[in-house]
């Protein structure tokens, strides 16, 4: 069962739709009590960094999330802004992030003549083997929409790398904490396989 955190940001409908299509059980909740019994957590997000961190605090779920992620160590997957929230902080805002992985969120370079946001399909290169990215075959592609990107301290925490002006982490994994910068729910077979992999992780 995947518990999708509803803190008021992000289009959860599409993610739920894809999880149903890959026959993964999921629930959507913002209730700390329900989150406390989660065996797998998905953190979505669309919008601004600070607004998201504020909402998480306002919803009173920060503590239970920290507990699940850092102490109980259940599998966690952050998607889009949700992946950026896993980092220490973002150049987009002033608030610290969740800090669950040693990484920073930085602005994509606006001075290289490329259009910001990075929007469209792009290729992702597998930098190391990882259960999250298993069975992604051939040229791996995903659909991206973002203006900020994640750079991990430890290169081994980046499991998929994409280039848009700079190389950045398209997906990360450090122990039980995982993230995907792209929209898996808009990346048809690639997104489905990734979510299937997440759903099948032992917990």
């Amino acid at each position: 069962m995947i518990t999708i955190i509803d803190y008021g940001m992000g289009n959860l409908g599409s993610v739920v739709n894809m999880l149903r299509r890959v026959e993964a059980e999921c629930e959507v909740t913002g209730d700390p009590a329900r989150i406390a019994s989660a065996s797998r957590i998905l953190l979505p997000g669309v919008g601004a960094f600070d607004a998201a961190m504020e909402r998480i605090d306002a919803a009173g779920i920060r503590q239970v999330l920290d507990d699940k992620a850092l102490h109980q160590r259940v599998p966690v997957l952050g998607i889009c802004l949700g992946m950026q929230l896993l980092t220490r902080g973002s150049e987009e805002g002033k608030r610290p992030g969740l800090g669950w992985i040693p990484a920073d969120t930085r602005r994509l370079p606006g001075d290289l003549g490329i259009k910001i946001p990075h929007m469209g399909w792009n290729v992702a290169e597998r930098t190391r083997q990882c259960p999250l990215t298993e069975r992604l075959e051939g040229e791996i592609r995903f659909y991206f929409v973002h203006s900020y990107c994640v750079q991990t301290d430890d290169p081994r925490d980046t499991v998929l790398r994409t280039r848009y002006g700079v190389d950045f982490a398209a997906a990360v994994q450090r122990d039980n904490i995982m993230g995907a910068q792209f929209h898996p729910e808009k990346s048809h077979r690639f997104g489905m396989q990734l979510l299937r992999n997440f759903a099948e992780l032992p917990c």
Binding site: R20, R21, V22, E23, E25
Partner: protein, 404 residues
């Protein structure tokens, strides 16, 4: 018998496979038809009447032997002659499935100029459309399509489900037959190829399922909401018109020529990039729902035995493999039932109610059955002349035992 398991979190039940060995039924020694198959008999050697029927038909038509090939070559000669000076000489109904795709190739091999004809009930899968596209493009064959208005098609499917009868996708078969005749007439084509193979598909007995234009009209009248305007229904009058006035000949090449579905599939995929869709007619979502969910669940009818038996008889798989495949639950495209609910406008509760209501059968509604029986002498003549399929004559023109 296929039995439903308890509802999953989606609110509807899933069908199971059919375990014949555990069922205690008598199973044919050669294929895997069991004693629940309508009209079946077993001889002393334990072989069923359908195996024997197929042996008889094979001998009669010389299927796969020089006699059959010679008969077919003569038919081809007649077809070519009748098509001189016209843009096409034969019409071939296509679905993206194995048989029809193979027949397109066959027609070209024999120097014919086919027109591919497709009836689109608006429930195609990508595999179906891609297969049609790849094969027609590679062979340079033109395609004529009749698309039914999606709202009408759905209204008819809905009517069949509300009526509680088994033939939820039966309207597609009638529509295809009507569309074939219309296209043949419009393009001045005297011959139609049909992909039926009694060897590869078996001969499905007239049991609980039945379909004709009057039946569709009656269910639509009683349970439908939209006027039938683009759905190509075949009335009795039109049937007679096509067969006796237009005199369009139906030819079944696979009754004469050597054919195995398995070999055809590898041939098609190697040469055209054709893709398998995992089962008879599962390339169309409504047909898939019909065969993989609806009739197994509501009527205990798992018709995968037809093609499994055919594979066993031709030696492609063993009886044990067939029984094992039959035991597995039918394959369902992910989200198919939700899709059906969405398109036909049922809630999960309404759907469950429909599925658990007592089954009803064609005998309770208006059909042409008695008229077909009364006109048997006429259809006997037409069958002999190839104007109606012999299997239609045998199945429809004789009284049938009413389904319980």
């Amino acid at each position: 018998m296929p039995v439903a398991v308890s509802p999953n979190s989606r609110g509807y039940e899933l069908p199971r496979g059919t375990d014949l060995t555990a069922s205690g039924r008598k199973i044919c020694a050669r294929c895997i038809y069991d004693d629940s198959v309508h009209g079946i008999e077993f001889s002393d050697d334990g072989v069923c009447s359908y195996c024997k029927l197929i042996d008889r038909l094979t001998a009669q038509y010389g299927t796969g032997a020089s006699q059959g090939t010679a008969t077919f070559e003569e038919l081809v000669r007649q077809i070519r002659e009748s098509g001189l000076g016209k843009p096409y000489d034969v019409a071939i109904g296509v679905s993206g499935g194995t048989d029809s795709s193979y027949m397109l190739w066959l027609a070209k091999e024999y120097g014919l100029r086919p027109l591919a004809v497709h009836y689109d009930n608006t429930w195609n899968t990508a595999i179906a459309t891609q297969n049609i596209f790849k094969v027609t493009s590679a062979l340079g064959i033109d395609l004529h399509t009749h698309v039914c208005d999606n709202r009408e098609a759905d209204d008819i499917f809905r009517s069949f489900m509300l009526a509680g009868v088994p033939e939820v996708d039966g309207s597609t078969d009638i529509a295809l037959a009507e569309v074939m005749y219309r296209a043949a007439t419009r393009f001045n084509i005297g011959y139609v190829f049909e992909g039926h193979s009694f060897i590869a598909e078996g001969v499905s007995p007239l049991g609980k399922a039945y379909i004709d234009g009057a039946y569709i009209a009656d269910l639509h009248r009683k349970f439908g909401n939209r006027p039938m305007r683009t759905f190509p229904n075949m009335t009795f009058a039109r049937f007679l018109y096509w067969t006796t006035v237009c005199r369009i000949q139906k030819v079944r090449p696979l009754w004469y020529l050597p054919y195995s579905k398995e070999d055809a599939r590898s041939f098609l995929s190697t040469n055209f990039g054709w893709q398998d869709y995992g089962g008879h007619h599962l390339e169309n979502r409504m047909t898939a729902f019909h065969h993989s969910y609806y009739t197994p669940r509501k009527f205990g009818l798992d018709q995968r035995n037809n093609s499994l038996c055919a594979s066993v008889r031709s030696g492609k798989i063993s009886r044990q493999q067939a029984l094992a495949a039959y035991r597995d639950p039918p394959h369902l495209e992910s989200g198919l039932v939700e899709y059906v609910l969405k398109r036909l406008g049922f809630t999960a509760t309404e759907f469950e109610n429909l599925m658990s209501q007592p089954p009803r059968f064609y005998t309770e509604y208006r059909t042409y059955k008695r008229r077909f029986e009364r006109c048997r002498p006429l259809f006997a003549v037409l069958a002999k002349r190839g104007l109606v399929p012999m299997s239609f004559y045998l199945k429809y023109c004789f009284p049938a035992k009413a389904p319980e």
